[in-house]
Protein backbone atom coordinates (compact mmCIF):
# COMPACT_ATOMS: atom_id res chain seq x y z
CA UNK A 1 0.00 0.00 0.00
CA UNK A 2 1.12 3.55 -0.78
CA UNK A 3 4.11 2.15 -2.59
CA UNK A 4 3.65 4.41 -5.57
CA UNK A 5 3.79 7.57 -3.42
CA UNK A 6 7.09 9.29 -3.98
CA UNK A 7 9.45 8.58 -1.13
CA UNK A 8 11.65 11.53 -0.23
CA UNK A 9 14.15 9.20 1.38
CA UNK A 10 15.27 8.32 -2.16
CA UNK A 11 16.27 11.93 -2.64
CA UNK A 12 18.00 12.20 0.72
CA UNK A 13 19.80 8.92 0.15
CA UNK A 14 20.97 10.15 -3.21
CA UNK A 15 22.34 13.36 -1.69
CA UNK A 16 23.96 11.38 1.10
CA UNK A 17 25.66 8.98 -1.31
CA UNK A 18 27.00 11.70 -3.57
CA UNK A 19 28.35 13.62 -0.58
CA UNK A 20 30.03 10.54 0.81
CA UNK A 21 31.59 9.88 -2.55
CA UNK A 22 33.00 13.37 -2.69
CA UNK A 23 34.44 13.69 0.80
CA UNK A 24 35.26 11.86 3.99
CA UNK A 25 32.30 10.51 6.03
CA UNK A 26 32.83 13.01 8.85
CA UNK A 27 32.74 15.95 6.50
CA UNK A 28 29.75 14.50 4.72
CA UNK A 29 27.81 14.46 7.99
CA UNK A 30 28.87 18.03 8.74
CA UNK A 31 27.78 19.21 5.30
CA UNK A 32 24.51 17.36 5.63
CA UNK A 33 23.85 19.01 8.98
CA UNK A 34 24.59 22.41 7.50
CA UNK A 35 22.26 21.70 4.58
CA UNK A 36 19.47 20.60 6.90
CA UNK A 37 19.99 23.65 9.08
CA UNK A 38 19.89 26.02 6.13
CA UNK A 39 16.85 24.34 4.63
CA UNK A 40 14.99 24.56 7.92
CA UNK A 41 16.01 28.18 8.49
CA UNK A 42 14.74 29.17 5.07
CA UNK A 43 11.60 27.13 5.51
CA UNK A 44 11.05 28.63 8.94
CA UNK A 45 11.38 32.19 7.73
CA UNK A 46 9.25 31.69 4.63
CA UNK A 47 6.59 29.83 6.56
CA UNK A 48 6.45 32.52 9.21
CA UNK A 49 6.07 35.23 6.62
CA UNK A 50 3.44 33.28 4.75
CA UNK A 51 1.43 32.51 7.87
CA UNK A 52 1.39 36.16 8.90
CA UNK A 53 0.15 37.03 5.43
CA UNK A 54 -2.43 34.23 5.52
CA UNK A 55 -3.71 35.33 8.89
CA UNK A 56 -4.13 38.88 7.72
CA UNK A 57 -5.97 37.76 4.62
CA UNK A 58 -8.21 35.33 6.48
CA UNK A 59 -9.19 37.84 9.11
CA UNK A 60 -9.73 40.50 6.48
CA UNK A 61 -12.12 38.31 4.53
CA UNK A 62 -14.01 37.42 7.68
CA UNK A 63 -14.33 41.10 8.47
CA UNK A 64 -15.53 42.18 5.03
CA UNK A 65 -12.19 43.68 4.17
CA UNK A 66 -9.63 43.03 1.46
CA UNK A 67 -6.58 42.85 3.64
CA UNK A 68 -3.04 43.51 2.47
CA UNK A 69 -3.15 44.37 -1.23
CA UNK A 70 -0.56 47.06 -1.87
CA UNK A 71 2.89 45.48 -1.81
CA UNK A 72 3.32 42.99 -4.59
CA UNK A 73 0.61 40.98 -6.26
CA UNK A 74 -2.34 40.60 -3.82
CA UNK A 75 -0.08 42.09 -1.15
CA UNK A 76 2.06 38.97 -1.09
CA UNK A 77 5.19 40.96 -0.30
CA UNK A 78 3.52 42.86 2.52
CA UNK A 79 4.97 40.70 5.26
CA UNK A 80 8.44 40.96 3.75
CA UNK A 81 8.11 44.73 3.83
CA UNK A 82 6.98 44.47 7.44
CA UNK A 83 9.97 42.29 8.26
CA UNK A 84 12.34 44.81 6.69
CA UNK A 85 10.71 47.51 8.77
CA UNK A 86 11.15 45.45 11.93
CA UNK A 87 14.77 44.71 11.05
CA UNK A 88 15.63 48.35 10.68
CA UNK A 89 13.82 49.50 13.80
CA UNK A 90 15.68 50.60 16.86
CA UNK A 91 16.05 48.09 19.66
CA UNK A 92 14.78 49.96 22.66
CA UNK A 93 16.83 49.53 25.78
CA UNK A 94 14.74 49.45 28.93
CA UNK A 95 15.98 51.24 32.02
CA UNK A 96 16.57 48.93 34.98
CA UNK A 97 15.61 45.89 32.95
CA UNK A 98 17.65 42.73 33.32
CA UNK A 99 19.54 43.20 30.11
CA UNK A 100 20.89 39.68 29.71
CA UNK A 101 17.57 37.93 30.32
CA UNK A 102 15.73 40.54 28.32
CA UNK A 103 17.84 39.73 25.28
CA UNK A 104 17.81 36.00 25.94
CA UNK A 105 14.04 35.56 26.09
CA UNK A 106 13.20 35.91 22.39
CA UNK A 107 15.86 33.34 21.53
CA UNK A 108 14.47 30.78 23.96
CA UNK A 109 11.04 31.19 22.43
CA UNK A 110 12.26 30.89 18.89
CA UNK A 111 14.67 28.02 19.56
CA UNK A 112 11.91 26.01 21.20
CA UNK A 113 9.75 26.23 18.12
CA UNK A 114 12.77 25.56 15.91
CA UNK A 115 13.58 22.37 17.77
CA UNK A 116 10.04 21.10 17.49
CA UNK A 117 9.90 21.56 13.76
CA UNK A 118 12.79 19.12 13.30
CA UNK A 119 10.76 16.08 14.26
CA UNK A 120 7.75 16.75 12.06
CA UNK A 121 7.24 14.40 9.09
CA UNK A 122 6.45 16.68 6.17
CA UNK A 123 6.08 13.97 3.57
CA UNK A 124 6.94 10.38 3.00
CA UNK A 125 10.57 10.10 4.03
CA UNK A 126 10.94 13.82 4.62
CA UNK A 127 11.71 14.15 8.28
CA UNK A 128 14.90 15.44 9.86
CA UNK A 129 14.95 13.06 12.80
CA UNK A 130 12.54 10.20 13.29
CA UNK A 131 12.91 9.77 17.04
CA UNK A 132 11.32 6.73 18.56
CA UNK A 133 9.68 9.03 21.11
CA UNK A 134 8.89 11.71 18.53
CA UNK A 135 5.61 12.97 19.95
CA UNK A 136 7.01 13.03 23.47
CA UNK A 137 9.98 15.03 22.21
CA UNK A 138 7.73 17.59 20.51
CA UNK A 139 5.57 18.06 23.59
CA UNK A 140 8.71 18.47 25.68
CA UNK A 141 10.42 21.08 23.52
CA UNK A 142 7.32 23.15 22.77
CA UNK A 143 6.79 23.65 26.49
CA UNK A 144 10.22 25.24 26.75
CA UNK A 145 8.86 28.25 24.89
CA UNK A 146 6.84 29.40 27.86
CA UNK A 147 10.05 29.81 29.84
CA UNK A 148 11.10 32.40 27.28
CA UNK A 149 7.79 34.18 27.69
CA UNK A 150 8.14 34.15 31.47
CA UNK A 151 11.72 35.42 31.31
CA UNK A 152 10.75 38.10 28.82
CA UNK A 153 7.88 39.32 30.96
CA UNK A 154 9.97 39.31 34.10
CA UNK A 155 13.05 40.92 32.63
CA UNK A 156 11.14 43.75 30.97
CA UNK A 157 10.66 45.44 34.33
CA UNK A 158 7.17 46.38 33.27
CA UNK A 159 4.02 45.66 35.19
CA UNK A 160 1.92 44.81 32.19
CA UNK A 161 4.61 42.46 30.90
CA UNK A 162 4.83 40.68 34.22
CA UNK A 163 1.08 40.16 34.46
CA UNK A 164 1.04 38.86 30.91
CA UNK A 165 3.92 36.49 31.53
CA UNK A 166 2.37 35.13 34.69
CA UNK A 167 -0.91 34.53 32.91
CA UNK A 168 0.94 32.77 30.16
CA UNK A 169 2.75 30.56 32.64
CA UNK A 170 -0.44 29.49 34.39
CA UNK A 171 -2.15 28.93 31.08
CA UNK A 172 0.49 26.87 29.33
CA UNK A 173 1.21 24.67 32.33
CA UNK A 174 -2.50 23.85 32.68
CA UNK A 175 -3.13 23.19 29.05
CA UNK A 176 -0.06 21.00 28.65
CA UNK A 177 -2.08 18.35 30.46
CA UNK A 178 -4.91 18.38 27.98
CA UNK A 179 -2.61 18.46 25.00
CA UNK A 180 -0.62 15.56 26.39
CA UNK A 181 -3.67 13.50 27.29
CA UNK A 182 -5.42 13.98 23.97
CA UNK A 183 -2.26 13.01 22.12
CA UNK A 184 -1.90 10.07 24.48
CA UNK A 185 -5.17 8.71 23.17
CA UNK A 186 -3.69 8.43 19.71
CA UNK A 187 -0.58 6.89 21.17
CA UNK A 188 -2.81 4.26 22.79
CA UNK A 189 -4.51 3.64 19.47
CA UNK A 190 -1.35 3.27 17.46
CA UNK A 191 0.79 1.76 20.17
CA UNK A 192 3.80 3.87 19.32
CA UNK A 193 5.30 7.27 20.00
CA UNK A 194 7.31 7.30 16.82
CA UNK A 195 5.70 9.69 14.37
CA UNK A 196 6.46 7.60 11.29
CA UNK A 197 4.99 4.60 13.07
CA UNK A 198 1.85 6.54 13.98
CA UNK A 199 1.38 7.56 10.36
CA UNK A 200 1.91 4.01 9.21
CA UNK A 201 -0.79 2.86 11.60
CA UNK A 202 -3.22 5.14 9.81
CA UNK A 203 -2.66 3.69 6.36
CA UNK A 204 -6.03 1.98 6.45
CA UNK A 205 -7.87 4.98 7.87
CA UNK A 206 -7.14 8.10 9.86
CA UNK A 207 -7.50 7.90 13.60
CA UNK A 208 -10.21 10.52 13.62
CA UNK A 209 -12.35 8.11 11.56
CA UNK A 210 -11.09 4.84 12.93
CA UNK A 211 -11.29 5.81 16.58
CA UNK A 212 -15.06 6.30 16.78
CA UNK A 213 -16.39 9.24 18.79
CA UNK A 214 -13.66 9.20 21.48
CA UNK A 215 -11.03 10.00 18.88
CA UNK A 216 -13.12 12.88 17.61
CA UNK A 217 -13.54 14.21 21.14
CA UNK A 218 -9.81 13.90 21.65
CA UNK A 219 -9.30 15.83 18.43
CA UNK A 220 -11.61 18.64 19.55
CA UNK A 221 -9.97 18.83 22.95
CA UNK A 222 -6.58 18.89 21.29
CA UNK A 223 -7.66 21.78 19.05
CA UNK A 224 -8.89 23.82 22.01
CA UNK A 225 -5.95 23.00 24.24
CA UNK A 226 -3.41 23.58 21.49
CA UNK A 227 -4.94 26.97 20.70
CA UNK A 228 -4.56 27.81 24.35
CA UNK A 229 -1.03 26.52 24.52
CA UNK A 230 0.20 28.71 21.71
CA UNK A 231 -1.41 31.77 23.34
CA UNK A 232 -3.73 32.53 20.50
CA UNK A 233 -7.18 34.02 20.62
CA UNK A 234 -9.59 33.39 22.25
CA UNK A 235 -6.93 32.35 24.74
CA UNK A 236 -4.49 35.18 24.04
CA UNK A 237 -4.48 36.32 27.64
CA UNK A 238 -0.73 36.70 27.66
CA UNK A 239 -1.08 39.48 25.09
CA UNK A 240 -4.66 40.64 25.70
CA UNK A 241 -4.14 43.93 23.93
CA UNK A 242 -7.31 45.46 25.38
CA UNK A 243 -6.23 44.69 28.93
CA UNK A 244 -2.44 44.54 29.03
CA UNK A 245 -1.62 46.62 25.93
CA UNK A 246 0.65 43.89 24.52
CA UNK A 247 1.29 41.59 27.45
CA UNK A 248 4.67 39.99 27.77
CA UNK A 249 6.17 41.64 24.69
CA UNK A 250 5.08 45.18 25.52
CA UNK A 251 8.66 46.37 25.87
CA UNK A 252 10.16 44.53 22.95
CA UNK A 253 10.82 46.28 19.70
CA UNK A 254 12.40 45.64 16.36
CA UNK A 255 13.73 42.20 15.58
CA UNK A 256 13.30 40.97 19.13
CA UNK A 257 9.61 41.56 18.85
CA UNK A 258 9.69 39.89 15.45
CA UNK A 259 11.14 36.78 17.07
CA UNK A 260 8.19 36.53 19.45
CA UNK A 261 5.84 37.22 16.62
CA UNK A 262 7.39 34.67 14.29
CA UNK A 263 7.56 32.05 17.02
CA UNK A 264 3.85 32.47 17.65
CA UNK A 265 3.03 31.67 14.06
CA UNK A 266 5.47 28.81 13.81
CA UNK A 267 3.99 27.38 16.99
CA UNK A 268 0.64 27.52 15.32
CA UNK A 269 2.09 25.56 12.42
CA UNK A 270 3.62 23.04 14.79
CA UNK A 271 0.42 22.31 16.67
CA UNK A 272 -1.47 22.10 13.41
CA UNK A 273 1.04 19.68 11.95
CA UNK A 274 0.90 17.54 15.09
CA UNK A 275 -2.88 17.42 14.77
CA UNK A 276 -2.42 16.42 11.15
CA UNK A 277 0.07 13.73 11.98
CA UNK A 278 -1.79 12.29 14.93
CA UNK A 279 -5.42 12.54 13.88
CA UNK A 280 -5.58 13.21 10.17
CA UNK A 281 -3.06 10.71 8.89
CA UNK A 282 -0.12 13.02 8.32
CA UNK A 283 0.98 12.96 4.70
CA UNK A 284 -1.29 10.04 3.84
CA UNK A 285 -3.84 10.66 1.10
CA UNK A 286 -7.54 10.38 1.81
CA UNK A 287 -8.67 6.84 1.19
CA UNK A 288 -12.21 5.55 1.31
CA UNK A 289 -12.77 1.83 1.59
CA UNK A 290 -13.75 -0.04 -1.58
CA UNK A 291 -13.40 3.05 -3.74
CA UNK A 292 -10.33 1.79 -5.52
CA UNK A 293 -10.42 4.32 -8.37
CA UNK A 294 -10.91 7.24 -5.99
CA UNK A 295 -8.06 6.05 -3.81
CA UNK A 296 -5.89 5.70 -6.86
CA UNK A 297 -6.55 9.30 -7.90
CA UNK A 298 -5.86 10.52 -4.37
CA UNK A 299 -2.51 8.74 -4.43
CA UNK A 300 -1.37 10.82 -7.38
CA UNK A 301 -1.43 13.96 -5.27
CA UNK A 302 2.06 14.21 -3.74
CA UNK A 303 2.30 13.44 -0.06
CA UNK A 304 3.79 16.83 0.75
CA UNK A 305 0.70 18.50 -0.67
CA UNK A 306 -1.51 16.34 1.48
CA UNK A 307 0.45 17.25 4.58
CA UNK A 308 0.36 20.98 3.96
CA UNK A 309 -3.28 20.97 2.90
CA UNK A 310 -4.34 19.30 6.11
CA UNK A 311 -2.06 21.49 8.22
CA UNK A 312 -3.32 24.69 6.67
CA UNK A 313 -6.86 23.54 7.16
CA UNK A 314 -6.19 23.15 10.88
CA UNK A 315 -4.44 26.52 10.90
CA UNK A 316 -7.48 28.04 9.22
CA UNK A 317 -9.72 26.59 11.93
CA UNK A 318 -7.45 28.04 14.62
CA UNK A 319 -7.61 31.42 12.91
CA UNK A 320 -11.36 31.07 12.63
CA UNK A 321 -11.51 30.65 16.41
CA UNK A 322 -9.44 33.72 16.98
CA UNK A 323 -11.43 36.02 14.72
CA UNK A 324 -14.81 34.94 16.03
CA UNK A 325 -14.68 34.57 19.78
CA UNK A 326 -14.23 37.02 22.61
CA UNK A 327 -11.30 36.46 24.90
CA UNK A 328 -11.73 34.37 28.04
CA UNK A 329 -10.90 35.65 31.47
CA UNK A 330 -8.00 34.07 33.33
CA UNK A 331 -10.17 32.25 35.88
CA UNK A 332 -12.54 31.05 33.16
CA UNK A 333 -9.57 29.82 31.22
CA UNK A 334 -8.43 27.72 34.13
CA UNK A 335 -12.00 26.58 34.83
CA UNK A 336 -12.32 25.42 31.26
CA UNK A 337 -9.18 23.36 31.60
CA UNK A 338 -9.60 21.86 35.05
CA UNK A 339 -13.37 21.45 35.17
CA UNK A 340 -14.19 20.62 31.58
CA UNK A 341 -11.31 19.59 29.36
CA UNK A 342 -9.30 17.56 31.86
CA UNK A 343 -12.11 15.39 33.30
CA UNK A 344 -13.53 14.80 29.83
CA UNK A 345 -10.10 13.97 28.57
CA UNK A 346 -9.43 11.52 31.38
CA UNK A 347 -12.71 9.73 30.78
CA UNK A 348 -12.05 9.79 27.08
CA UNK A 349 -8.61 8.27 27.52
CA UNK A 350 -10.04 5.47 29.63
CA UNK A 351 -12.73 4.81 27.04
CA UNK A 352 -10.10 4.70 24.32
CA UNK A 353 -7.95 2.34 26.34
CA UNK A 354 -11.01 0.13 26.75
CA UNK A 355 -11.80 0.25 23.04
CA UNK A 356 -8.24 -0.68 22.17
CA UNK A 357 -8.21 -3.45 24.75
CA UNK A 358 -11.39 -4.96 23.32
CA UNK A 359 -10.16 -4.35 19.78
CA UNK A 360 -13.30 -2.45 18.79
CA UNK A 361 -11.57 0.08 16.58
CA UNK A 362 -11.37 -0.60 12.90
Amino acid sequence: MNDHIYDFSQLTRHIDESLRAAMSPTWAVVVELVIIGLVFLTFYALLGLFLVYAERKVCALMQNRIGPNRVGKWGLLQTIADLLKLLTKELVYIERADKFLFNLAPFIVIIASFMAIAAIPFAKGLQAIDLNIGIFYIIAVTSVGVIGILIGGWASNSKYSLIGAMRSGAQVISYELSVGLSLLSVVIFSGSMQLSEIIRSQADGWWIFKGHIPAFIAFLIYLVAATAEINRGPFDLAEAESELTAGFHTEYSGIKFAFFFLAEYINMFIVASIATTMFLGGWLPLHIDHWAAFNRVMDYIPSIVWFFAKTFFIIYVIMWFKWTFPRLRIDQLLTLEWKYLLPLNLINTIVIAFIVMMGWHF
Binding site: M62, R65, T324, F325, Y340
Partner: protein
Protein backbone atom coordinates in the same frame (compact mmCIF):
# COMPACT_ATOMS: atom_id res chain seq x y z
CA UNK B 1 -27.31 12.89 38.36
CA UNK B 2 -29.08 16.07 37.31
CA UNK B 3 -25.81 17.80 37.94
CA UNK B 4 -24.09 15.60 35.41
CA UNK B 5 -26.84 16.17 32.85
CA UNK B 6 -26.51 19.90 33.40
CA UNK B 7 -22.75 19.64 33.00
CA UNK B 8 -23.04 18.03 29.58
CA UNK B 9 -25.99 20.21 28.58
CA UNK B 10 -23.85 23.25 29.37
CA UNK B 11 -21.06 21.95 27.17
CA UNK B 12 -23.43 21.24 24.30
CA UNK B 13 -25.14 24.60 24.63
CA UNK B 14 -21.76 26.34 24.72
CA UNK B 15 -20.60 24.53 21.60
CA UNK B 16 -23.83 25.43 19.83
CA UNK B 17 -23.48 29.15 20.55
CA UNK B 18 -19.84 29.07 19.53
CA UNK B 19 -20.78 27.39 16.28
CA UNK B 20 -23.45 30.05 15.65
CA UNK B 21 -20.77 32.72 15.86
CA UNK B 22 -18.39 30.77 13.66
CA UNK B 23 -21.12 30.41 11.05
CA UNK B 24 -21.38 34.19 10.78
CA UNK B 25 -17.67 34.74 10.27
CA UNK B 26 -17.46 31.69 8.05
CA UNK B 27 -20.30 32.98 5.91
CA UNK B 28 -18.53 36.27 5.33
CA UNK B 29 -15.27 34.48 4.67
CA UNK B 30 -16.78 32.79 1.62
CA UNK B 31 -18.80 35.75 0.38
CA UNK B 32 -16.35 38.22 -1.14
CA UNK B 33 -19.27 40.20 -2.53
CA UNK B 34 -19.85 41.64 0.92
CA UNK B 35 -16.47 43.33 1.10
CA UNK B 36 -16.94 46.97 1.97
CA UNK B 37 -13.36 48.18 1.64
CA UNK B 38 -12.96 51.20 -0.58
CA UNK B 39 -9.48 51.47 -2.00
CA UNK B 40 -8.86 55.09 -1.44
CA UNK B 41 -6.47 56.66 -3.90
CA UNK B 42 -7.87 54.66 -6.83
CA UNK B 43 -11.51 55.23 -6.02
CA UNK B 44 -10.95 58.98 -6.03
CA UNK B 45 -11.01 59.04 -9.82
CA UNK B 46 -13.68 56.43 -10.32
CA UNK B 47 -16.66 57.82 -8.48
CA UNK B 48 -17.71 60.68 -6.34
CA UNK B 49 -16.65 59.77 -2.84
CA UNK B 50 -18.14 62.67 -0.95
CA UNK B 51 -21.62 64.07 -1.21
CA UNK B 52 -22.41 67.35 -2.94
CA UNK B 53 -22.99 68.98 0.39
CA UNK B 54 -19.71 67.83 1.88
CA UNK B 55 -18.13 70.44 4.12
CA UNK B 56 -14.56 70.34 2.96
CA UNK B 57 -13.60 73.98 3.22
CA UNK B 58 -15.11 77.41 2.86
CA UNK B 59 -14.74 78.81 -0.61
CA UNK B 60 -15.85 81.97 -2.35
CA UNK B 61 -17.36 81.21 -5.74
CA UNK B 62 -16.14 83.45 -8.55
CA UNK B 63 -17.89 83.82 -11.86
CA UNK B 64 -16.23 83.87 -15.28
CA UNK B 65 -15.46 87.59 -14.98
CA UNK B 66 -13.47 86.90 -11.83
CA UNK B 67 -16.16 88.52 -9.76
CA UNK B 68 -17.56 87.42 -6.43
CA UNK B 69 -20.44 88.37 -4.17
CA UNK B 70 -18.49 89.53 -1.15
CA UNK B 71 -19.15 93.08 -0.02
CA UNK B 72 -16.68 92.90 2.82
CA UNK B 73 -19.38 93.58 5.38
CA UNK B 74 -17.67 91.37 7.97
CA UNK B 75 -20.73 89.52 9.25
CA UNK B 76 -18.95 86.20 8.71
CA UNK B 77 -16.02 87.43 10.75
CA UNK B 78 -18.37 88.42 13.55
CA UNK B 79 -20.20 85.13 13.53
CA UNK B 80 -17.19 82.87 13.34
CA UNK B 81 -16.79 81.24 16.76
CA UNK B 82 -13.04 80.67 16.51
CA UNK B 83 -11.75 83.61 14.56
CA UNK B 84 -11.02 81.64 11.43
CA UNK B 85 -12.04 84.53 9.20
CA UNK B 86 -10.35 87.90 8.93
CA UNK B 87 -11.68 90.57 6.62
CA UNK B 88 -9.38 93.26 5.33
CA UNK B 89 -11.13 96.00 3.42
CA UNK B 90 -9.85 98.89 1.40
CA UNK B 91 -11.38 102.06 0.08
CA UNK B 92 -11.42 102.67 -3.63
CA UNK B 93 -13.06 105.44 -5.55
CA UNK B 94 -16.00 104.53 -7.75
CA UNK B 95 -16.56 106.35 -11.04
CA UNK B 96 -18.35 109.15 -9.23
CA UNK B 97 -15.20 109.76 -7.28
CA UNK B 98 -16.89 108.62 -4.07
CA UNK B 99 -14.81 106.39 -1.85
CA UNK B 100 -16.47 103.00 -1.30
CA UNK B 101 -15.37 100.21 0.96
CA UNK B 102 -14.68 96.93 -0.81
CA UNK B 103 -13.04 93.67 0.17
CA UNK B 104 -9.28 93.59 -0.08
CA UNK B 105 -8.52 90.22 1.47
CA UNK B 106 -10.89 87.61 2.81
CA UNK B 107 -8.50 85.58 4.93
CA UNK B 108 -9.62 82.12 5.95
CA UNK B 109 -7.67 80.03 8.44
CA UNK B 110 -8.56 76.46 7.53
CA UNK B 111 -6.50 75.16 10.46
CA UNK B 112 -8.83 76.88 12.93
CA UNK B 113 -12.12 76.21 11.19
CA UNK B 114 -14.59 73.88 12.91
CA UNK B 115 -16.96 73.66 9.94
CA UNK B 116 -19.96 74.93 11.86
CA UNK B 117 -21.27 76.68 8.78
CA UNK B 118 -22.35 79.88 10.51
CA UNK B 119 -20.40 82.13 8.13
CA UNK B 120 -22.13 80.63 5.11
CA UNK B 121 -25.54 80.79 6.74
CA UNK B 122 -25.32 84.41 7.81
CA UNK B 123 -23.73 85.85 4.68
CA UNK B 124 -26.24 88.41 3.36
CA UNK B 125 -25.06 88.12 -0.24
CA UNK B 126 -24.36 84.36 -0.40
CA UNK B 127 -20.74 85.05 -1.17
CA UNK B 128 -19.45 81.98 0.64
CA UNK B 129 -20.09 78.31 -0.03
CA UNK B 130 -18.80 74.90 0.92
CA UNK B 131 -16.07 73.40 -1.22
CA UNK B 132 -15.85 69.64 -1.51
CA UNK B 133 -12.06 69.46 -1.38
CA UNK B 134 -11.06 67.23 1.51
CA UNK B 135 -7.39 66.45 0.99
CA UNK B 136 -6.03 69.23 3.11
CA UNK B 137 -2.76 67.71 4.25
CA UNK B 138 0.16 70.10 3.78
CA UNK B 139 3.73 70.16 4.99
CA UNK B 140 3.59 73.76 6.11
CA UNK B 141 0.70 75.01 8.14
CA UNK B 142 0.97 78.52 6.78
CA UNK B 143 -0.46 77.03 3.60
CA UNK B 144 -3.69 76.45 5.49
CA UNK B 145 -4.22 80.19 5.69
CA UNK B 146 -6.00 81.06 2.49
CA UNK B 147 -7.16 84.21 0.81
CA UNK B 148 -10.58 83.40 -0.54
CA UNK B 149 -11.04 86.23 -3.02
CA UNK B 150 -8.82 85.63 -6.02
CA UNK B 151 -6.27 88.27 -6.96
CA UNK B 152 -7.74 90.93 -9.18
CA UNK B 153 -11.28 89.92 -8.44
CA UNK B 154 -13.96 92.44 -7.73
CA UNK B 155 -17.39 92.66 -6.19
CA UNK B 156 -20.14 91.71 -8.58
CA UNK B 157 -22.46 94.34 -7.20
CA UNK B 158 -19.96 97.11 -7.79
CA UNK B 159 -19.98 96.64 -11.56
CA UNK B 160 -23.74 96.40 -11.65
CA UNK B 161 -23.82 99.63 -9.69
CA UNK B 162 -21.50 101.06 -12.28
CA UNK B 163 -23.79 99.87 -15.03
CA UNK B 164 -26.74 101.43 -13.27
CA UNK B 165 -24.82 104.63 -12.93
CA UNK B 166 -23.92 104.58 -16.63
CA UNK B 167 -27.45 103.94 -17.79
Amino acid sequence: MSGIIKYFADILHGLKTLWAGMRITGKYFVSPGEIVTEQYPEIRHKKQIVSDRFKGEVIMPHDENNQHNCTGCGVCELNCPNGSIEIITKRIPDENGKMVRVIDKHIYHLSMCTFCGLCIKVCPTQALAWGQEFEHAVYDRTKLTKVLNKPGSSYKGLSSKKKEAKS
